[in-house]
Amino acid sequence: MTALPPPSARKLGLVIDLDTCVGCQACVTACKGWNDQGYGVPLSDQNAWGSEPSGTFLNRVHAYEVQPDTGPAQVVNFPRSCLHCENAPCVTVCPTGASYKRAEDGIVLVNEDACIGCGLCAWACPYGARELDGAAGVMKKCTLCVDRIYNENLPEADRVPACVRTCPTGARHFGDLGDSESAVSRLVAERGGYDLMPELGTSPVNKYLPPRAKGADERVDILAPLLDVKASGFAGWLDRLLEKI
């Protein structure tokens, strides 16, 4: 049913630290690697070795530059994936019931066997989190690695989304954002985690942590003492003379 369930107590999601992300794309690769063989149809590529390669990815990392009012510009690497919104517009537009939000943990999923590939859910998502697979014609999106996080066949350390497990800088955190005492919720509270495009009213579960304030730009000029030279002797006499003219 594509009606949204009442808000769940458990809200599983990601917290992404824009301060520590170095833009290495390891999460993109790990995501594609895991989800190519797990939940649903594989993430296909089209013309992978041609001049215009294209493919289905559930996670993309952008790079932006921010110019503050004062101080030097900052580079921010920005991973973008499904935010598992509480008020998910992609769910209610679905005509077949393929798109749904789980009542127990809030994960937004697609039942690919019921998807007709109309693409309306991708149109309804502000974040570009859904991509129609070019080969299978069904909608693909982040599953929060639902086939890892509850998988008791995996060692406990691996029961997190593939992107979180692989991140070499610890910029991605997974947990229950519905529990105010969870590690992720405390992180959001301490670091001022925020929602993307709050003006669209989607109430995302995933939060982003802003880059930390960088040190003030002191602009130390190491040549300054050398430039403050007083001429002496004949040059000093000339210097004083010329200033008087």
Partner: protein, 301 residues
């Protein structure tokens, strides 16, 4: 948004078809026999061809029947029900007209209401999307209903209603262009809010997330051909509204005249619908630093 031919054909033809069926159901053209067969046949053909065209943009059309399940929440599902309802409910009305008789008006009234509901539901598929600010406005249902009603009035050869509706369509078209131009800015979404980096300063795209295009960019970040939008707007208004208005005002509605007026109107409708998609900007374009001339930022054009 990508102006996919299947979706343009679907919305224009099914809109015109249900508009015609609406007028026929209300008894606007009291015809019988062969003339009734021709008119009702045209209405059914337009509506059904349009609906079939809509399945061409599906990734898995063989599961299309599943689209009837979510009418409680989905406008696309509601559109499916309303269209099938209209087409089935009007079968006895059409057969009665072709046979030379008439059913009590209530049959036609119920069918006409379903025709109206179909076009309204189609328009709401687009109007509901907050992510496309140009569409997310009252002008979208007004536009779809005005197009359907105008086509229906012209095709049934009703001079006065057709002239009035053509004029009204022209006003709605111009309003949708003018008001639509400022909608994206008024939604308030920017690269600053999309990334949350607006709190630090002015963000700009430093490097793309991928080296060539992807589904998102092909489907939702269409910028090709917008340079002609001003000229195409004129063409849309002149063909869809002004020319049919003049013909309906000054020429008696004999069948060849009706056909010419209808074809001119449909040509305008196709141009207008192409613009409806091509000019609509999706907020996901912000992440790619790509908005059209309307946004005035890099990447447009």
């Amino acid at each position: 948004m990508h102006p996919a031919p299947s979706v343009i054909i679907f919305t224009v033809l099914s809109g015109a078809g249900f508009g015609l069926l609406f007028f026929l159901a209300l008894g606007a053209a009291p015809v019988f026999g062969l003339a009734a067969l021709l008119l009702w046949g045209t209405g059914y053909a337009l509506a059904v061809i349009g609906l079939l065209a809509s399945t061409f943009h599906l990734g898995n059309p063989q599961r299309a029947l599943r689209a009837f399940t979510q009418w409680r929440t989905s406008w696309l599902s509601r559109e499916g029900w309303a269209s099938v309802g209209a087409l089935l409910l009007l079968v006895p009305v059409a057969l009665a007209a072709i046979a030379g008789g008439a059913l009590p008006p209530v049959f036609g009234l119920v069918g006409a209401a379903f025709c109206l509901a179909t076009v309204a539901a189609t328009s709401m598929i687009y109007a509901q999307l907050k992510t496309v600010p140009r569409w997310n406005y009252w002008t979208t249902p007004a536009l779809f209903l005005a197009f359907a009603a105008t086509a229906g009035a012209i095709l049934t050869g009703r001079n006065l209603p057709a002239a009035i509706l053509s004029a009204a369509l022209g006003v709605v078209l111009v309003l949708s262009f003018r008001l639509g131009d400022g909608r994206f800015a008024r939604r308030g979404a920017s690269l600053g809010t999309a990334t949350g980096l607006g709190r630090l300063g002015a963000p700009r795209v430093l490097a793309p997330a991928h080296t060539s295009s992807n589904y998102l960019m092909k489907e939702m970040i269409h910028v090709v051909g917008r340079k002609h939008s001003r000229r195409l707007r004129w063409i849309a208004v002149i063909f869809a509204s002004v020319l049919p208005l003049l013909i309906m005002l000054f020429v008696p509605p004999v069948p060849p005249v009706v056909a010419v007026a209808a074809l001119l109107h449909l040509a305008g409708a196709f141009v207008a619908r192409w613009l409806f998609f091509a000019e609509a900007e999706h907020v996901v374009g912000l992440y790619y630093g790509q908005r059209g001339p309307e946004g005035g930022t890099a990447g447009g054009g």
